[in-house]
Amino acid sequence: MTGKSSITLPAILVSSLWLGTVSAGEAVEGTAKADKLKSCVEPTEVMRRDHFEFIKHQRDLAVHQGIRGSKHSLAGCVDCHARKDAEGKPVPVNAEGQFCDSCHDYAAVHIDCFSCHSTVPGEK
């Protein structure tokens, strides 16, 4: 039993390295698009209070009505707020200390967005 688990653990580590996007290095400050902007799609105060309202409303429009070109979207959050590591690989926004995590961790909010949604910017 112990022998089996000692094989599985390295296997998991190797597979997570293979995925690449999951195993980015240390994020470099100033590498996210948002780092270079003054404010988000709404004023910062509004975003801090209501970002979840915006994307919750938008998700229904996207899924049920096919409206994809809206100002608010989770893909937009990730695209703009994901930093890169020294090699230019994107660091997941929910990784420890990164944009989404730093605030949600402080506020003790546990959200499920990223159990389904991508945590790094999409391929263009």
């Binding site: 599985t8 998700r59 229904d60 899924v63 389904c116 949604h117 999409g122």
Partner: protein, 253 residues
């Protein structure tokens, strides 16, 4: 007085021209959207019903191009075998949006290959049975799962006569931006809805099929390739007896 009247008339004409260009605009904008593949900004309408015609006589033995293209487009190839699951279990349970089916006529021995996916029924049984409203039909005829609402009960999988739906049994490490996916939800073919909503007019399977066995398009537009093909060739719905009015039709079976 007459001068001001004149200018008033001129203004009116100007406005009329603007107004007419607006009424012309939807069609024009639609074309430019398709050319530049811009995302939708208006809700989908029931003036469109997406559908497909599959010519089984062109579907070649051993060819997997459409399945592989679908897997890549929708990130199904990124789903890993859950830890501890046997190879056999995984083969049975791994998500499929397109399934390859072989039919044999026992009398003559004739073999027919066809691809089976969500048939995008007009009256979808999966939507009837869904207790939460997660399984729904979009007004343009695409049957989808809203994963935000899906509780993973799998009634829809039981109800579907086409075995079109898959369940995601474990956490998914890598996912695509346009196809979110996570443990505990049901999913199936959605006619590459992210492509359609971003102004494209083809599906990945159709693009990948070098035998041109798949024709996709708007069933309500008599000029669309799929409508023309349906008009020209005899086609059938699979399990037509269920009167589901499927959006996917087949020829030569």
């Amino acid at each position: 007085m007459s001068k001001s009247n004149d200018s008033g008339r001129r203004d009116f004409l100007k406005k009329a021209v603007v107004a007419s260009s607006v009424t012309v605009a939807p069609g024009v904008i639609l074309h430019t959207l398709q050319a530049q593949a811009e995302p939708r900004t208006t809700p989908v309408t029931d003036k469109v019903r997406w559908g497909m015609l599959i010519d089984t006589s062109k579907c070649a033995e051993g060819c997997k191009d459409c399945v592989e293209a679908c897997n890549k487009e929708n990130g199904l190839d990124l789903v890993d075998k859950p830890e501890g699951a046997s190879e056999e279990l995984w083969e049975r349970q791994r998500p499929h949006w397109i399934r390859q089916v072989k039919l044999k006529d026992n009398m003559t021995g004739m073999l027919t290959n066809l691809v089976m996916m969500c048939q995008h029924c007009e009256h979808p049984p999966c939507v009837d049975v869904c207790p939460t409203g997660a399984s729904f039909k979009r007004v343009d005829g695409i049957v989808m799962v809203d994963r935000h609402i899906c509780i993973g009960c799998r009634y829809c999988m039981m109800a579907c006569p086409y075995k079109a739906r898959s369940f995601i049994h474990a956490d998914v490490a890598a996912k695509l931006t346009h196809t979110p996916r996570g443990k505990g939800c049901v999913e199936s073919c959605n006619f590459c809805v992210h492509r359609l909503d971003n102004g494209q007019t083809t599906t990945a399977c159709q693009d990948a099929c070098k035998h041109q066995a798949i024709v996709f398009g708007d069933l309500k537009d008599p000029e669309s390739p799929v409508s023309k093909a349906l008009k020209k060739y005899p086609s059938v719905q699979i399990r037509a007896d269920l009167k589901l009015n499927t959006g996917v039709r087949y020829t030569n079976i």
